[in-house]
């Protein structure tokens, strides 16, 4: 299978700070790869290198075989880039922004206009087409930004945290757009802080942390490694906390984590039936709980599970 994107040992340093400490990546053509990581993990740096905006200090990256450093023009002909910050012109209208980009991509005036109209319609921005971007809502801007990176029908699309700060409705819309693009044959590299987003869209997920790849695999594989859901209990009386911890350890075989401030105990729950078992045991021991339930692991817990780092500061 052809690789649309490859990276070998990418390193980028800013003074003493190492943003990327040797990242490898292979993205087969026509697939969606999710790059998952917390703030400051190096996701944006990676996208900027793959997008020819930044030169790596070491390592090599290619897009359809073209080196991003040695042959940036060929790479730029293949890629579309949507960053975290809207890269459209505030004082221009939606139509004007897209026509300008079309002209820069060597479309004729008529072609550029037609392409702009097409994209505005697809992103449901037709009504706002003649308004300056400054009057757009956050979601509209993001949609226009995505439209802007699609003017040249790129074969490879980089989406750097495309849904950060968006409401759930707009987020779902964007997800649908990504699915449509992939159905049309594009390769997508998507960075995100949300496991759910990577899970929804990506064929494969690369987890990076502190500039390194800490895990790589299909979403299902990674989820199994993380261990599924988490059972969380808060006894009504703080004095019951030891007794409850004992019951949890007995039921799951794991020592529960304690949050001394909130009095909450949490433990990985592989089995869905655990909740009813726990309720019966608490009932039997006459212990009341204010809070009891299953939840998905937070990103920090995901990283704890993947990196096995016991002391990690919560960002």
């Amino acid at each position: 299978m052809t690789n649309a994107i490859t990276a070998e040992g990418l390193v980028k340093r800013y003074g003493d700070m190492t943003a990327l400490a040797g990242v490898d990546l292979e993205v087969p053509a026509g697939k969606v790869i999710g790059v998952l990581g917390p703030n400051g993990a190096g996701k944006t740096t990676m996208v900027r290198i793959l997008g020819t905006l930044l030169r790596p200090d070491a390592g090599r990256a290619t897009v359809y075989g073209h080196d991003v450093v040695k042959d940036p023009v060929r790479v730029r002909r293949l890629i579309g880039l949507t960053g975290q910050y809207a890269s459209v012109d505030e004082t221009l209208t939606g139509t004007e922004n897209l026509i300008l980009l079309g002209r820069l991509l060597n479309l004729t005036k008529r072609q550029a206009k037609a392409r702009a109209g097409e994209l505005l319609e697809r992103f449901e921005l037709t009504e706002a087409a003649t308004r300056p971007i400054a009057t757009f809502s956050g979601g509209m801007r993001r949609r226009l930004d995505l439209a802007a990176s699609l003017v040249g029908s790129p074969k490879v699309l980089y989406l750097d945290e495309p849904t950060t700060g968006l409401d759930p409705h707009t987020r779902n819309e964007l997800w649908q757009v990504v699915r449509d693009l992939v159905a049309g044959g594009a390769t997508v590299l998507l960075t995100t802080q949300y496991l759910e987003e990577a899970d929804q869209l990506a064929d494969r997920i690369t987890v990076i942390d502190k500039g390194r790849v800490v895990a790589e695999g299909r979403p299902g594989e990674l989820k199994r490694r993380i261990g599924g859901q988490i059972l969380q209990v808060r006894p009504t009386l703080p004095s019951d906390i030891d007794a409850v911890a004992g019951i949890l350890a007995e039921l799951t075989g794991h020592t529960p984590q304690r949050d001394e401030n909130t009095g909450v105990l949490s433990v990985p729950a592989a089995d869905q039936l655990l909740v009813s078992a726990l309720v019966r045991r608490l009932d039997g021991a006459a212990i009341a709980a204010d809070e009891l339930g299953l939840r998905l692991p937070s990103l920090d817990e995901v990283f704890l599970a993947l990196t096995n780092v016991t002391e990690r500061k919560v960002a």
Binding site: K70, V73, E96
Partner: protein, 277 residues
């Protein structure tokens, strides 16, 4: 460095083909497309109108009516003939500062990232911005000429010479704009660019023959004034509008203009490339 507008080709056995380079014709077309964008932005932003219209109008009124009497000993009619071509130089020079400020603003948004990730020449966004400034300069000069006419100024030569004067001044502003572009790429905040450029512009315009005859200056200042680009361009402007020698000062001015481009264009490109590197 000036030849490296696009990354130098590197022969590599990894690649079946040589790196793709972009053509000049394409570059010009792209620059014009971006210049169009900048003109639209300029037209929609009322502040830039104040910048290029109000400032020169105030200076002209101030120098003719406030200082003119004292400098020219009451002969404001004669003084206005001398000062209008010079104020045009000063005004267009000050207008050329604006570009660095607006480029800094562009660079702080994601707009430049978008351009940088597209298959267009590296210099295109900067060249496009500078070309768009022609419109600002023409508006600035036209405003001054109209106001000066109302105040009693008369062009002594002919319309073609006057057009040549405007063209020469636009060329002057375009080449000196690269200094502002360079600062705009180097410095992160627009106000810093404004401040730094004012430091450059003020001594250049006041230590020149624009407002006062140089005979009253001390020798060292006279020496500077005679090679000061603002004096030289003001001489050209006076020659073309009022009559007199043009060839001598034009040669000196063109040398300055070429020098500014040779020095600041590559520097600006370098700073632009490094901006996010």
């Amino acid at each position: 460095m000036s030849t490296q507008t696009i990354d130098t080709p590197v022969t590599s056995h990894h690649l079946p083909t040589a790196p793709l380079r972009l053509g000049l014709v394409q570059g010009v077309r792209h620059s014009l497309a971006l210049a169009g964008r900048n003109v639209t932005k300029f037209v929609r932003s009322p502040i830039s109108v104040v910048d290029v219209v109000l400032t020169p109008v105030i200076s002209l009124l101030m120098f003719v009516y406030l200082f003119g009497g004292a400098i020219a000993g009451g002969d404001t009619d004669g003084y206005i003939q001398m000062i209008v071509p010079g104020v045009m130089v000063m005004a267009v020079f000050q207008a050329s500062i604006g570009i660095g400020v607006s480029l800094t603003t562009d660079a702080s948004t994601g707009v430049f990232d978008r351009f940088r990730s597209m298959p267009i020449g590296r210099s295109v966004p900067l060249v496009g911005a500078v070309l768009a400034d022609v419109v600002r300069y023409v508006i600035c000069l036209a405003t001054l000429l109209i106001l000066a006419y109302i105040m009693g100024y008369r062009i002594d030569t002919n319309p073609i010479a006057a057009l040549a004067a405007v063209a020469f001044l636009v060329g002057f502003a375009l080449s000196f704009a690269w200094m502002s572009v360079f600062l705009g790429m180097l410095v992160k905040t627009p106000t810093t660019v404004q401040g730094l450029m004012t430091i450059v512009v003020l001594p250049l315009t006041f230590a020149s023959n624009v407002f006062v005859p140089t005979q009253t200056m001390p020798g060292w200042l006279q020496a500077w004034s005679s090679v000061n680009p603002v004096s030289l361009v003001a001489d050209v402007s006076r020659g073309l509008l009022n009559g007199g020698d043009v060839a001598g000062p034009a040669l000196g001015s063109l040398a300055w203009m070429a020098g500014m481009i040779v020095v600041f264009f590559p520097l600006a490109m370098r700073a632009y490339r490094r901006n996010n590197g």
